[in-house]
Symmetry: C3
Subunit: 404 residues, 3 copies
Amino acid sequence: MTLLKLFVALGAFSAASHAMAWDYVLLDTHTPAKNWTITSEQLGVKTAKPFSVTLRTLHGGRQEGVSVVDIDNGAMKLSVVPTRGMNVLQASVGNVRMGWDSPVQEVVNPAFIELNGRGGLGWLEGFNELVTRCGYEWVGHPGMDNGELLTLHGRAANIPASTVTLHIDEKPPYAITLRGELKEQAFKKVDFSVATELVTEPGSASFTLNDTLTNNGDYPKEYQALYHSNFSTPFLEQGAKFAAPVKQVSPFNDKAKGDLADWQTYRAPTKDYDETVYNVVPYADAKGETLTVLHNKAGSLGVSVGFNTQQLPVFSLWKNTDTQGQGYVTGLEPGTSFSYNRRYQRPLNLVPTIAPKEHKQFQISYSLLADKGAVDNALKRVSEIQAGRETEVRQAPLVDLTQH
Amino acid sequence: MTLLKLFVALGAFSAASHAMAWDYVLLDTHTPAKNWTITSEQLGVKTAKPFSVTLRTLHGGRQEGVSVVDIDNGAMKLSVVPTRGMNVLQASVGNVRMGWDSPVQEVVNPAFIELNGRGGLGWLEGFNELVTRCGYEWVGHPGMDNGELLTLHGRAANIPASTVTLHIDEKPPYAITLRGELKEQAFKKVDFSVATELVTEPGSASFTLNDTLTNNGDYPKEYQALYHSNFSTPFLEQGAKFAAPVKQVSPFNDKAKGDLADWQTYRAPTKDYDETVYNVVPYADAKGETLTVLHNKAGSLGVSVGFNTQQLPVFSLWKNTDTQGQGYVTGLEPGTSFSYNRRYQRPLNLVPTIAPKEHKQFQISYSLLADKGAVDNALKRVSEIQAGRETEVRQAPLVDLTQH
Amino acid sequence: MTLLKLFVALGAFSAASHAMAWDYVLLDTHTPAKNWTITSEQLGVKTAKPFSVTLRTLHGGRQEGVSVVDIDNGAMKLSVVPTRGMNVLQASVGNVRMGWDSPVQEVVNPAFIELNGRGGLGWLEGFNELVTRCGYEWVGHPGMDNGELLTLHGRAANIPASTVTLHIDEKPPYAITLRGELKEQAFKKVDFSVATELVTEPGSASFTLNDTLTNNGDYPKEYQALYHSNFSTPFLEQGAKFAAPVKQVSPFNDKAKGDLADWQTYRAPTKDYDETVYNVVPYADAKGETLTVLHNKAGSLGVSVGFNTQQLPVFSLWKNTDTQGQGYVTGLEPGTSFSYNRRYQRPLNLVPTIAPKEHKQFQISYSLLADKGAVDNALKRVSEIQAGRETEVRQAPLVDLTQH
């Protein structure tokens, strides 16, 4: 039997076949991360293109001891970082890369980061992923709230996953599921766990995150989530466009007011531009599903980010069209909240509460739109969701940031 | 010769037989922690029940790389965490567990904790042990003192032990001694070392901590120590009792005033209770020995914590009888000091000084009281130490916490 | 061929012979640090005395996982710490040790240090090296600047090197070069890399640091560098002397005013002395080269520290002649800047700027002066550089530290 042989060959890894699937524990209390690979050939699976999953460990510098899981589904190559909140480091299809070039080149082990450093901006010393989980106790800019310094975008991205498992369906389409659990726990303060899941199918140019936040505590707790999804070239360029079904848009701050008229169009890399951010309240379909699209100027290449507004009701568009070296990047960021410090978001009703033992699900789908047809289809879907409903363009920020 | 064979078999571990004992270096500058076990059988020792000591390493999440030493003395199983200040994670006899269920489930590697986070409460992200060492530069609640933020309960619990050795007597009762050294050092600031020791005997339901703090510096230094010893069910329950020979008791703060009349009795898990703390000055016998007891309502099961008031003159009773999920737990905490920030304790004369090269010893004994007879004996000892002397019950806290 | 055999024997290490040299990758993204040694015998090199380079990993305490490279050039033994900014831990020739005895005994892994702890003095928990790199975003005492707490002496000493390579020339004098790269990166904040290099020759009692700071970013950035070079006995003793070609000297603060008259002479270990610091502007020769010397009272043993004032225009003399246990040590510290917080140094024009893609080189040479002849030669060189030019002795500190 194939599986038995695998089990023997894998050494430290336990493999078991349940419910028509292969399951591997890559990392757990008694299972150290080790270099390891499984391939469709080893599984005796025949897909159009072979797939594989690899676990490796990085060394040197501030990335010492960081685990990375590489998934090659035959069409798309994905890298996931268990040591950094199961963040998606990058994805690519052929030479088209989803992700960006941060000045932070290393995949930084959270052991070397002081989130409280740099006035609460320590998070910036590790920020370079395609998808960075923000939350779940809070998100947003650093600042005091309830007498405590909330550091930028919370802790999730700097929590190593405590259990990492790989699940491959034994039947077509042989879905590949990578799971990892984040524990966000502090006595008297918080008792969250986040069951993260990344799913992709062999041959697909898409992947989905499917996270479940649980409040294990006995008290209701405020929470916030934001999926910081970051793209650069070849999607981002002068004249690139953002599309979404928009109910309301507003500038994040005074600086963003200036470019409000062009908020859906991107600049070329622009010296001293820094960033502008727009707060978006999206429309959704009857089930709450919505879609956001980033595409190049020609409309021949793009990405879509889909989510459900019952889970993630708001969205931030982060336009960091500064120079290439500074980080030419845009963030498509579905969230429970905008990027203001938590204390500003309570009056906006954007600091939800999770009841004891309650679960909150967050599903976000990422797709490469590889040609004009795919882009047009996605834009059509955006238009269908908008369904002619009007967009409120607010001229002023929702929050008066000059007031403390 | 048994030992020679062991030496060969153990590989990295050096074993030597001196003064009628087996000695093993489990962790040192050139000895990485490795999975390892030694058993009474391997040693050729015949005890009523076999004993063993195991070293293992945890993986995944924020417990990556944490070393744990499990001692099974034949009657009691103990887990000690070298990576976290040689803290005692838990102890159990059969299905009776000493310890508690913290929302913090992982045994957190200090590399992932910012003690200065959460306004100095970062310590709470790792707090889940049966015995957590607090000190030795300071203990107490976070706050400014001498222009510096003192973080909750000092650094000891988050200092990895630098040398860990196991010593087993070659003669009955074959006492098992686990040692580890904590270095609390910062140029110009502090030069402490703490030689920690945990001793237990095969078949015993007790263990003793025997720590020696040394000021290696050339100047006298303030120091503080507090042994945060934490118990839950089956000892803690509605109607459970605390007993000690008490010279003086006072409420820690205004909140604790309300329950002062019942300070020695426990509540069931109580929603929104949070915690009350009582400051206790215990009586001791002529040698300074004293005993504190926690027992269940029926008086059929308990634990005792014994110490010497010449070493640890005061005691905090921490009653955290909140819900089970929040952490239903009581702390029996002998110390040089109460749990106030250090700046409040100087006027109380509870910030002692250690002279250059001076040693301070702290011995604390923990015993399971497995039946009514054992509980009664312990209570009798408490009564003998009290010896009819009166208890001063102060109605007001010793410290005005509203004043900064 | 020797090299091929080595390649096979070394396992994980890749060795290659280019341009008449042996090159070994000791640590890199896919190369974990492993215990390893190379000797001149293995290389088939015949020098007056054999040389060797060893890589080892420390365990236990806060030094868990720290890599150390020991270079024995046949005359001088050097220890370099890749995990701590490629700092030079110590050097010795026979029983003459360059370095000092800090209360910090461990070689502390930065993972266990909170630089923001102790009010920004967390750096002191790891400070014990012969040469500690300070910078490169800032140096100096902790304090607020531009709304951010700058921690003591910057991050460099606590950045693990991301790539460590060893290069040995295949031709006499068989120079041994150890390289490591430091990445000081944070999105939006800084994008520095520092290519560090330590060079020594078989049989030599000298070594040279040759660092190249690069601003990889697209914007000019402020930077600061300071090479904290620390010596104790047998050079430092009562009556030991410091010599340099001095253009200007001033006391760092009011305390240093008191000893200004004797600023070039050292005290015996002195209780309660703490430290005095003198700011020195050195003279240099036509090429910018200058030399500073520390020697014992008899003038029979010393060290010299040479640098170029076009790279490092100023110098701090740190006289920490407190007790042996507190750390009896003097720092010879060439830098771009003095040790004031950065906000004080801008008005002094000591916060230079590095342009985008610009490189800044810092070369510092350390030599043991093993006898009176060597000391006299060095003092003669100092005198030649001074060339009779006058020294301005300022009575007051350059900075009014009472003003914020």
